[in-house]
């Protein structure tokens, strides 16, 4: 029983990274129609930026949670203006070439500058140690990650469902052409939406910094799992991204605990099962896919 609680929290904490990053991926795909293969690299940049900030300016986790997403938002805006905007008029094949190429570039740049060994990251002391819950000592940091990301997902969900911007994002995701014909300048939202999606990947990276080895390659495995997440949740679905993220985190944690050799395979078995039963994913909508 205590093991189950422990693995659940561990899985949900790991799932938090997937949920936040997949949320960004889903929103970008919805509005731009671009599958951003560089999302793992943006996640890595979030963690590396947090580590560099701590090392050089002593900006710790609390401020990094605010500053790093803002920096990545700016970086995303630049990438969109310089590169991604040209994709919108091209064959989807270029989508893969560009964003994958960008990944290789970013990963190598980080390797050149910071080497291949992991960067250290110390979390604030209050998040050290364990928290007693139902007689089980749970790592405080995992609980923090979990609560923090649920809060962020909730805010994003409120923005998506309660604000005019959210309404426009939903409309241009579902039927971009109609949104334009109804007088909405969809193009105006493309750059900020891309920046926002990148910022969410960066935020996941910051949260992962005290938790995972910070290396240039940390995004490589991450992006592969992330694609399983969006396929399970349904590409372009906001709720699907979040639910898929937590679900995959749980499968991963329980897999590692009870069948370590199969942990990764289990995720893809889950993905295959979902695709067989619901090709558009748990929350995907077939008509618009």
């Amino acid at each position: 029983m205590s093991d189950v609680l422990q693995y659940t929290v561990q899985g949900l904490a790991a799932g938090s990274f997937y949920a936040l990053a997949a949320l960004g991926l889903a929103i970008i795909f919805g509005v731009l129609g671009v599958v951003n293969f560089a999302h793992g690299a943006f996640y890595m940049l979030g963690a590396v930026t947090a580590a560099v900030l701590l090392d050089t300016t002593e900006i710790g986790l609390w401020w990094a949670l605010l500053v790093v997403p803002l920096l990545l938002f700016g970086f995303g805006v630049v990438v969109e203006r310089l590169l991604v905007q040209w994709l919108l008029r091209l064959d989807p094949l270029y989508n893969f070439l560009l964003t994958f190429g960008l990944t290789l570039l970013l990963v190598d740049l980080v390797k050149r500058k910071y080497g291949v060994s992991g960067l250290p990251y110390e979390r604030p002391e209050v998040l050290d140690g364990r928290f007693e819950l139902l007689g089980v000592g749970l790592p405080k940091y995992q609980l923090f990650v979990l609560i923090f990301s649920i809060a962020v997902c909730l805010v994003v969900w409120l923005v998506m469902t309660r604000t005019r911007i959210g309404m426009i994002v939903r409309a241009s995701t579902e039927r971009p052409e109609l949104a334009r014909a109804l007088g909405i300048n969809v193009g105006r939202w493309v750059t900020p939406v891309f920046g926002f999606g990148v910022a969410l990947a960066g935020l996941a990276g910051v949260l992962a910094a005290p938790f995972r080895a910070i290396t240039a390659d940390m995004g490589n495995d991450f992006i592969i799992i992330l694609f399983a997440v969006v396929v399970i949740g349904g590409l372009g679905s906001i709720v699907g991204a979040v639910v898929g993220g937590f679900l995959v985190g749980l499968v991963e944690a329980f897999g590692q605990a009870y069948a370590p050799t199969y942990a990764q395979i289990l995720i893809f078995v889950l993905m295959a099962a979902v695709v067989l039963v619901r090709p558009a994913g748990l929350f995907g909508r077939e008509e618009t896919a």
Binding site: A181, L182, G183, I184, N185, R285
Partner: protein, 230 residues
Amino acid sequence: MLEVEKLSSWYGEAQALHGVTLQVREGEVVTLVGRNGAGKTTLLRSLMGLHKQTEGRIELRGRDVSRLPAHRRARAGMGWVQDDRGIYATLTVEENLVLPPRVSDRAWSLDAVYDVFPVLADRRRAPGTTLSGGEQQMLAIARVLRTGASLLLLDEPSEGLAPVVVARIGQIIGQVKESGVGVLLIEQNVRFAATVADRHYLLAQGRIVDALDNDQFVARQQDLLEHLGI
């Protein structure tokens, strides 16, 4: 209010519209009649700025809009109701209504919309596509009326709907016309077309082959039914 001159459109190498010239005046209901595949939908999409490969001149209320992107044409007063109604599943009925920005003083208030379409008021919080086909058509029309569009482009609004609903749509088109809005209506239902329209254009293989006023149209109804193959 709408002056279209020598409008041509292509799908790749295949030409779908060949120099279409037509007019719609204020407060006038004009139908576009033609067989399946004649190019009616392509024509409305080209007017709306949704079809890239298009040439020709489109003037709305004296202003050349043929170079404007779709959202600016909507803001200039074009209101499009597409052939599948275009109701958003991820938006509630009310969000579907308030999504497009208002473009003129003619814009209906939400209260006015709900007065005329009480069923939309009852279902305002429901996802748009949970409405019935007829209700979705009402919603699609109400949505462009709420913007205050001065020209409605309606792509087969009567298709697949029960006679009472079609009659209701006819009434609404009548009211809209009274308020000075121009309507360009695609219609395969010749009898319905004859009851709502002032003039008619026949489109065949991407060309306007005839322009008729309503009396001529009624007189040739039988002949037209055969021509349309319906």
